[in-house]
């Protein structure tokens, strides 16, 4: 087939790409190429057309480089294909072909509206269209765009830039109906309207009316209203230009377009179609990406290759009017059984939705409005396992860099209204550590949840950090742990005498107390150790704002017998405790005074309850859904596993609190992925997720291992927890621990799955010791009169209850009155905006 003749109809974006691709492959010069194009210019970048209104010159959009091997005829319309003779005809010539490639693109579709042909009404497709719009806009004041899709919004922006007061009329109830969903559309509308573009949604345009000069002057809408506009752009869609193929008797797609197979070949083996005019799999694509894929495929085929077009990428991202909008994959969630995860922040005005497969493992598509930073990663991940937890991908702050990614206006400490800018200024003024930042900005001095972010900001600023725990120890928590473990140090005084200085403080004392407890070396309140505990661990209860404590007995897995529930009710009633059900599936009893704690626990222990460690940096709960026992979807016994895990790890002291949950199937009703370690049942066993977090910096846990047997799962969790306990920093949750780890999740896998550090036997043994040595802290206290003696209100008046703890009634229960009580509280505001799904 030496020197065969190839004719290309259309010199648009895809036609040009096809020629370039073929020329790059056809090193032997097998094909003599003729390109016939109707427009007056060689191919240009249509996608960037609107840049013309941003001051870009038309020449800058050029895509064509002259090639001596390629004959280009401009201003040349092909009028017919004669398949029998293998020639295409133009008004004045015939071009014989051995292969014919149709790259004729689309025509704007103009609906049959009265007056659509008036002067002043334009389409928005070519350089000539834009030139005409620009010319007509001179001296005009009001523009209207019919169509609120991608193209319509681009056109609206163009009219704005031309100085026209602009409106968009869209028949669908939202903007960009093909790309975004209802909630995303609502947010998009707010952005667009703020830019001064009026939106008329859910209403059709029925007619265009001329003014006295014969050019367009008014739109008439289906609701009977009229709107002034002396320039109108119609952007209601496109139609593939298949008229040549149709006349030549080639089969077309059901929605038009030249019907082609996966190699882009039509029913006639010598005729191919690429770009917007081609219907692959009976679908036309109005985007350049799929067109380019087709161009490459045909180029490959014509030099003897075997390429086929892959599933087209219909992802779109537009940076329009300063608004980020992106949509990709199955954005509307049409896949049967698919699930979606949405994230919506009215404050930063970001909306995001991810569509996941029914087992929540595979990303199918999504919509982003307001912030499309995650778009490249997400688009790249369609059809694959999620690259990270969905919320970590979507939430702007969770994008990995934490506080360092926050804008300077962001409030880091919401208790004291300290912004990132305030903190950056303090760092610039010489604050080099967290205490200094706290002292000069007051950030982190109230609830303390922003303290890790302070550290991140210091790190981001590259401020020199000592790894030392506090002024008393120059070593990190991890080093302290190893010292205590290896040297078998058992008291704080000997530790600080040997490895520290001073008397210790509220930072190092609880750390050492926790390490000693993790190593299973006796009761929390034994001897000197009692003085190390913070007040929660000291009274084995949670200090509340008014100086009273709350009591949380363990309810493993959230499963409780009616009898035990009755006991809880009776105890709460008898001590008049405020009662609330917690997010961890247990019951919190508030308002106990110190001296009441042993009496309350006496009753609870007698009824078979034990400490829930809600006061400790320890395992809190293992939440569960009902799983296969009751739920018609459940595939494993999630309750049984949750109870087993909770009993195994109860009382285990750690650098921070730890939470867990078990879901009985992929529907994930127990929210396991928001936990430090979460387990989701599969048909074959259990999937383990690690490093999730709720609270202030939410993060979904990462998938760590799949389809585990119960035994294998427990072994991995054992090692995960023990490794965390040994190596994490003080008050570092598992999420931050993994994020900060060199090598991250992969390193963690290497250590606890592949035993790369040779630690596993040691970790397993440590956990075995913990499980064997467990005893209920509250029962131990009740059995020991010396320990009981600590639970007094006043050392010199143990019979006098603390008079500052006073109550008032709210919704039928006792709540604090007076100090730190209700009268200091602000009324609850109910003004949160709501985003509909």
């Amino acid at each position: 087939m030496k020197n065969s003749r190839l004719v290309v109809v259309g010199n648009g974006m895809v036609g040009q790409r096809f020629v370039d691709a073929l020329r790059a492959r056809d090193s032997e010069g097998r094909w003599r190429v003729t390109v016939l194009g109707e427009e007056s210019r060689p191919a240009y970048d249509r996608v960037r057309l609107s840049a013309l209104f941003d001051g870009v010159d038309a020449d800058e959009l050029n895509l064509h480089t002259p090639d001596p091997q390629v004959r280009l005829r401009l201003n040349t319309s092909v009028t017919a294909i004669d398949r029998a003779r293998r020639v295409v005809t133009t008004t004045d010539a015939e071009y014989p072909y051995d292969a014919l490639v149709l790259a004729t693109g689309s025509d704007p579709f103009v609906p049959p509206i009265d007056g659509a042909d008036l002067p002043g009404v334009f389409t928005y497709r070519t350089l000539d269209d834009l030139a005409a719009i620009r010319a007509h806009a001179r001296g005009r004041r009001r523009g209207a765009v019919i169509g609120g899709g991608l193209l319509g919004l681009e056109a609206a922006n163009a009219l704005r830039l031309l100085g026209l007061a602009t409106s968009v009329v869209e028949v669908a109830p939202r903007l960009m109906p093909l790309q975004v969903d209802t909630a995303g559309g609502a947010l998009l509308r707010r952005y667009v309207e703020e830019l001064g573009v009026a939106c008329h949604l859910g209403v059709a345009t029925t007619a265009l009316h001329p003014g006295s000069d014969g050019t367009v002057a008014q739109l008439e809408l289906a609701d009977g209203s009229r709107m002034d506009a002396d320039l109108v752009v119609v952007a209601t869609g496109i139609r593939p230009r298949d008229e040549l193929a149709r006349a030549a008797g080639l089969p077309l797609g059901s929605q038009g377009g030249v019907l082609v197979d996966h190699t882009c070949r039509s029913a006639d083996e010598r005729i191919w179609a690429v770009g917007e005019c081609a219907a692959v799999d009976d679908t036309c694509h109005g985007l350049v990406g799929p067109g380019y894929a087709m161009a490459e495929t045909v180029a490959d085929r014509l030099v003897g290759g075997a390429a086929t077009v892959s599933e087209p990428d219909t992802a779109t991202k537009l940076k329009l009017l300063g608004v980020d909008v992106a949509s990709f994959g199955d954005a509307h969630g049409t896949t049967p059984g698919c699930l979606d995860v949405t994230f919506s922040d009215p404050a930063t005005r970001v909306y995001a939705k991810l569509v996941l497969s029914d087992d929540a493992q595979t990303l199918l598509g999504g919509v982003l409005v307001g912030d499309a930073d995650a778009y490249p990663t997400l688009r790249a991940s369609v059809g694959q396992a999620l690259p990270a937890a969905p919320l970590a991908l979507l939430a702007p702050a969770g994008a990995g860099s934490g506080a360092a990614a926050l804008p300077s206006s962001a409030q880091v400490c919401s208790c004291n209204a300290v912004t990132r800018a305030d903190l950056d200024a303090a760092i610039a003024d010489g604050a080099t550590d967290v205490p200094a930042l706290k002292a000069c900005t007051r950030a982190g001095t109230s609830c303390g949840s922003c303290v890790p972010m302070l550290q991140q900001l210091l790190d981001a600023a590259g401020v020199g950090q000592s790894r030392g725990l506090c002024e008393h120890f120059d070593v990190s928590r991890q080093e302290l742990f190893d010292l205590i473990r290896v040297r078998e140090i058992r008291t704080f005084s000997s530790l600080i005498a040997e490895y520290g200085r001073g008397d210790g403080c509220d930072i190092c004392k609880p750390v050492v107390a926790s390490i000693l407890a993790s190593l299973g070396t006796g009761h929390l309140l034994d001897g000197e150790r009692a003085s190390l505990q913070d007040t929660n661990d000291h009274f084995l209860a949670n200090l509340q704002r008014d100086g009273s404590y709350s009591v949380v007995p363990r309810i493993p897995g959230g499963e409780i017998t009616p009898e035990k529930l009755i006991v809880l009710g009776e105890v709460a009633r008898d001590f008049a405790l405020y009662t609330k059900i917690t997010g961890g599936q247990r019951i919190d009893l508030f308002g106990a005074r110190v001296e009441q704690l042993p009496q309350i626990w006496r009753r609870l222990v007698d009824a078979g309850f034990e400490s829930g460690h809600a006061y400790g940096k320890a395992l809190r709960t293992v939440k569960s859904c009902v799983g296969s026992t009751w739920c018609r979807y459940g595939v494993q016994d999630s309750v049984g596993l949750a109870i087993a895990l909770e009993l195994r790890y109860r009382g285990l002291r750690a650098p921070h609190k730890m939470k867990s949950a078990v879901s009985g199937c992929a529907r994930e009703c127990a929210e396991a992925r928001s936990k430090d370690f979460g387990i989701i049942a599969t048909d074959a066993g259990w999937n383990l997720y690690v490093g999730g977090n709720g609270g202030f910096q939410p993060r979904h846990a990462d998938l760590f291992a799949t389809d585990l047997t119960t035994e294998a799962l427990v072994r991995l969790v054992d090692r995960f927890l023990m490794y965390y306990i040994r190596t994490a920093d003080r008050l570092q949750r598992t999420a931050a621990w993994i994020e900060a780890m060199d090598g991250g999740l992969e390193h963690l896998k290497a250590v606890i799955v592949d035993d790369s550090l040779g630690l596993c036997a040691d970790l397993d043994a440590a956990m075995a010791r913990h499980v064997g040595a467990y005893s209920d802290e509250w029962r131990d206290v009740l059995d020991d009169p010396a320990l009981l003696g600590r639970f007094t209100s006043f050392v010199n008046a143990p019979e006098v209850p603390d008079p500052s703890i006073r109550f008032t009634a709210e919704r039928g229960q006792r709540v604090p009155a007076g100090v730190g009580g209700t009268e200091n509280r602000q009324p609850v505001g109910l003004g949160m905006p709501e985003v509909q799904r």
Binding site: D506, P510, E528, F794, N796
Partner: protein, 114 residues
Amino acid sequence: MTAQPQEWTVVCPLTRLDPGRGVAALVDGVQIALFRTANDLFAIDNQDPVTEAYVLSRGIVGSRDGVPTVASPLHKQAYDLRTGDCLDRPGVAVRRHEVRCQDGLVEVRLRKEE
């Protein structure tokens, strides 16, 4: 300054106090936080001036740059046990009281105003 001299009140035997820990005491209707460090006794108001809750006796005792301190158990501000000054919030302080050990008994004398 001190309005009128108060009486010394016996609060408890010294052995009832653990080094490095505090207890609450009720002296003349006033809630006192009493601390024992390695070589000293301190008494301050039990009320945390930041949160107004009566909790300082339950804070962790320690030192900062050699100064003996207690940290509020609610929001962790540290107080100089010798002067009552808050080390994390300029201008905030708690009232101190006099404390001594006589014949193995801990005694407190209130200060009314400072």
